[in-house]
């Protein structure tokens, strides 16, 4: 799963999920859906110098990335969360660029992994299991 600068320990993520591949695919899909929104949100928050939003979105990304086993990117998100909390916007702006690069690389990895998996595993379906929300 190594791709340039992004290191995604998918095996560790799967292990955390108790080896449940169906659930693993589901959460990867949720991430694919959510991450672009987070990136856009970060960009907007920086443009508006909204440090609370920077902290909050970075916190969310930190949680998701570390869960998925993308420790390098999670580290960047954590730094960005700190920068947001401390109101250090210049620092935040530069970390955001690295983080965006990480996440975009990761998203590509994920798409590829999902496509590969479909040949060997059952096809990925939109999760119908989102019952009582």
């Amino acid at each position: 799963m190594l791709d340039g600068h992004v290191c995604w320990d998918a095996a560790r993520a799967l292990e955390r999920l108790g080896g449940d591949e169906g659930l693993f695919r589901e959460i990867v899909q949720i991430f694919l859906h959510e991450a672009p929104k987070h990136l856009a949100g970060l960009q907007q928050a920086l443009a508006q110098r909204d440090k609370d939003s920077i902290e909050r979105i970075a916190h969310t990304l930190k949680g998701e990335l570390s869960y998925l086993g993308v420790s390098g990117a999670a580290h960047h998100a954590s730094k960005l969360e700190d920068a947001g909390r401390n109101g250090d916007l210049e620092c935040a702006a530069s970390i955001r660029i690295s983080l965006e690069k990480d996440v975009e690389g990761l998203l590509q990895n994920m798409y590829r992994a999902l496509l590969e998996k479909t040949s060997s595993l059952s096809p990925i379906q939109p999760s119908g299991a989102h019952s009582n929300g």
């Binding site: 955390r16 108790g18 589901e26 959460i27 998701e64």
Partner: protein, 318 residues
């Protein structure tokens, strides 16, 4: 039955292995993970995406007993929720598991201080969550057995072990309350004092176990013959007391006769023989506010004495 013991050991069948769990988490990824696991483990799960929704759910009649709350949430965050829940002081304790980010040590401390029982750091894994739920279940089970033990103690403190009727102390309290109430309601209160006839002879002839069987059967027939808002208790050895709120002399006479006839009606089978037994009843009706409980009991007692002296198996209304 005679030696009721109080046990703090969790009952085998309680609490059920299925917990009612509330998950409050704004991140859709973790929401899905938690929901999926909890459902796999057969828990009843309600999932909400913010603290305000969680607070709404907690106002329900039977709220979830185990709460998994994310620390950072819009509107009402995890700590604030903890504080509100603890301030509510529900009789049923709710076990709170707070979910925090990695390295959020300060948050953990604040969360625990605000009333959380335990915490889980992201990224948590399946086995860890499962183990923490087991801890929660253990605490909830312990609480259930404490409540159960308290209820059992409360019952034992107010009831007669053999017959399950009110005991003497509880009867005196009941009579007191009833007299107060009758004064306010301006209604009479009737009291029956009932004594099984020749009970010593039953004990001597058939043994104490047979005597106990007669006492239990007398209690059962007595309870059967009164209304749900009347109170019956064991006053002493073979002596029972009945408090009848709002009964006038006619109703009191009828009730007493019904009880007497019910008791004398048929034998009880004990020690392999049919034992016939009867009861004498002394009855009195107190007008609202007229007398004290001591006086009423004295009047009923002397009426009982008369019933005994005039041949037993009868009612005397003083």
């Amino acid at each position: 039955m005679a030696e009721a013991t109080i046990s703090l050991e969790p009952k085998v069948n309680e609490p059920p292995s299925t917990l009612r769990v509330l998950v409050a988490e704004d991140d859709p990824m973790f929401r899905r993970i938690l929901q999926s696991w909890l459902q796999t483990w057969s828990h009843e799960v309600v999932v909400v995406e913010n603290g305000a929704r969680a607070w709404d759910i907690l106002q329900q009649e039977q709220p979830p007993e185990l709460l998994i709350l994310d620390w950072m949430m819009p509107e009402i965050d995890g700590t604030e929720l903890c504080r509100r829940i603890r301030a509510q002081r529900r009789s049923r304790y709710q076990y709170i598991l707070l979910v925090t980010g990695k390295n959020d040590r300060q948050d953990v401390v604040r969360g625990l201080d605000a009333g959380a029982d335990d915490y889980l750091s992201k990224p948590f894994d399946r086995d860890e969550l499962r183990a923490r739920l087991r801890v929660g279940k253990r605490i909830l089970a312990l609480q259930d057995s404490l409540i159960h033990a308290r209820e059992e103690l409360r019952f034992q403190a107010t009831h007669d072990v053999l017959t399950g009727l009110w005991n003497r102390g509880a009867l005196m309290d009941l009579l007191h309350h009833e007299l107060d109430r009758s004064k306010r309601a301006n209604a009479p209160t009737a009291v029956l004092m009932l004594d099984l006839d020749h009970f010593k002879r039953i004990n001597d002839t058939y043994g104490h176990l047979a005597g106990d069987a007669v006492l239990k059967e007398a209690a059962r027939r007595l309870t059967q013959s009164i209304r749900s808002y009347d109170s019956a208790g064991r006053y002493g050895g073979e002596e029972f007391l009945v408090v009848l709120p709002g009964c006038d002399r006619g109703q009191t006479q009828n009730t007493a006769e019904r009880i007497r006839a019910e008791i004398a009606g048929m034998p009880v089978l004990a020690a392999g023989v049919e034992i016939f037994f009867t009861a004498s009843i002394g009855a009195t009706v107190a007008e609202p506010g007229a007398t004290s409980s001591t006086e009423i009991l004295a009047v009923a007692d002397s009426a009982l004495y008369q019933a005994k002296n005039s041949g037993r198996d009868r009612t005397v209304l003083a």
